[in-house]
Symmetry: C2
Subunit: 362 residues, 2 copies
């Protein structure tokens, strides 16, 4: 099928509170150069799709708060391709909004939905896997997903179980399981027919709309009612009305777990959700003592630290002396110092800081 | 003798590199509110003398670089009472300059010389001890010093040994010893006739000038030559010429160790030279977990830390989570993170930073 019908939808509405104070309500993770590579995560994601999707077919769905960040970081994306949510309602409404909006103009659309803040390398392998998924849509009503070979029994991910089939390039999905216990995650790894859910989905707009109509009919109806307002000055009001009545539900729980036409491709690319400081640390370049340093930093007799000084801190110099295994984040207005092995408490810190100091710093 | 002949000379030329990055070449320790009490150390020292010394008799000797800081922090001190050194040459030239300048206008002057950056409390006890020293000058050519009862065998201080004399309020000094080894410091404490040198001296201008004439005659001559320039537009040039030819030597080594008319009063006040983060930590108020926090700081599950956020860092929020025994200093342009037990390395860090990043941050 012609490339003109291939679309990408980049989901960029998250707030990434595990990376506070770098990731903030008003400046979340996907808009930061988390890996210190001279590009923000959403810019990298955009370029990933720009390799094989026409520019006029790449859409962003994000919170209305982030309009200035989108305009600053992706000035080449026209406003009509940025869909602003009045508030987050998880991935199901986000995907339905984008699919319904795209489908209105192009009923032959094939859509690749992707998070904006993951690491995917090399780009060629990603493109190849996506092409397999797109090809699998040909003449079939299928929802394709991309699964990642699990390297550890991570309890923070969703798992996809598939029906093994010798020689196949993709597999029928049996079950979706969100964030299992460690015991169950271990059994998944042992059984060998589970992959991690990458959050990347490929489907035709027609197929996904039919799935919503069948499985989340109330939500489907809300967006059908809003349809006439798309690309008119009324769109923000119509969408605000939809979202205020829309339930908060993920695409995994609302559609994928229940649909019987879901397939999975085992990815050939390297992937990280960059969901924790630890996973970020693994992907950052490090000095000989294992320090991952991003900013104007001097580390003396210090090892295995992760230090982030954001551009908002200016030309600030950070000096560590005799420090081990710490997370140090300086954003100019906030400094966080926390041991790496306590990173799971950072979300709680954000709540404490809001309680103790109000919204200014969160 | 009338109060009109009583003078104070506050020595404020140090750079306090042990408190880097708070204390900086261009903004040293004495100009900071090190204890978080709403006053800088030099302001507290000035007020200490202002209680019993006429305002027109309180002099400051400092580096010419700190003129803006003096004018900002002590606007009530007229420019004629601030003596600017072109560069530091230790305490002997500093004291000689002040004594010679004061003596020119008032040959009956009695001078109290004091560092600008020490903790002294309560003020009443200090004033009483100084009064005993001033009284001891009456009709006698004496150099009075104030000794501190040593509470530990500190190797960073100077020690004064005195001749014990039952019922005396002050004692003849036998020896001065700068920074002894730990073994020797321990023996000093055991012997019981040693006190710490507080760096506070009380003498008549005549007595100290005669001591310089006898013990540091070259230096004495240099200042005698500069004398006609005092309080004229030529003073800075004349003093620069003197300092460029003047040797770098402390008053202790150049005068006190050699003069035979030195006496010591055992202080009744509490004293700290605030010379290390540890000594500063002891004097700061602490939360229930032993954190000494100065600035907009939240400490969760953290104990025994010392955190300083200077006004230059603005309204910055510092959050510690699960942190123990650290020094964290944020000055807006520099952040230092270092374990408390490694504070003695901070001076080396300053040298390293100068080497690695130049003078901007030191």
């Amino acid at each position: 099928m012609a490339q003109q019908h291939t679309y990408a939808v980049i989901m960029a509405g998250g707030i990434g509170s595990r990376f506070w104070p770098m990731s903030r309500n008003m400046f979340p993770k996907q808009f930061h150069d988390m890996l210190g590579r001279g590009q923000t995560l959403i810019q990298t994601t955009y370029e990933r799709f720009r390799r094989f999707v026409p520019a006029e077919n790449i859409y962003i769905v994000t919170n209305a708060l982030y309009k200035p960040l989108i305009q600053d970081q992706l000035p080449e994306v026209p406003d009509r391709q940025v869909l602003y949510e009045p508030f987050g309602r998880n991935t199901a409404p986000c995907i339905l909004y984008a699919a319904s909006r795209i489908h209105k103009n192009d009923p032959h659309a094939r859509i690749i939905v992707s998070p904006s803040d993951h690491l995917i390398l090399p780009e060629e392998d990603f493109q190849r896997d996506v092409q397999v998924a797109l090809d699998a849509l040909e003449g079939q009503s299928r929802i394709m997903t991309i699964g990642i070979n699990p390297s550890r029994p991570d309890t923070g991910y969703g798992y996809i179980q598939y029906l093994e089939e010798a020689g196949a390039t993709y597999f029928k999905v049996k079950t979706f399981t969100e964030k299992p216990s460690l015991e169950i995650a271990k059994s998944f790894l042992r059984s060998g027919d589970f992959v991690w859910n990458s959050g990347i989905f490929i489907f035709s707009s027609d197929t996904i709309l039919r799935a919503f109509e069948a499985l989340l009919p109330d939500m489907y109806e809300l967006f059908e009612e809003a349809k006439p307002a798309y690309e008119t000055p009324d769109e923000p009001n119509a969408i605000e009305a939809v979202y205020s009545r829309c339930k908060n539900i993920s695409i995994d729980y609302g559609i994928m777990e229940k649909a019987n036409n879901v397939f999975v491709i085992r990815s050939h690319f390297r992937w990280s959700d960059l969901g924790t400081w630890k996973s970020l640390y693994e992907e950052m370049s490090k000095d000989t003592l294992g320090n991952a340093l991003s900013g104007n930093i001097l580390a003396y007799n210090s090892s295995n630290n992760i230090v982030k000084v954001t551009p908002q801190a200016g030309d600030k110099l950070v000096v560590l002396k005799g420090i081990e295994n710490l997370i140090v984040v300086d954003t100019g207005d906030v400094l966080l110092v926390c041991p790496k092995d306590q990173e799971q408490t950072i979300r709680n810190i954000v709540a404490d800081v809001r309680k103790d100091r109000g919204d200014q710093f969160v």
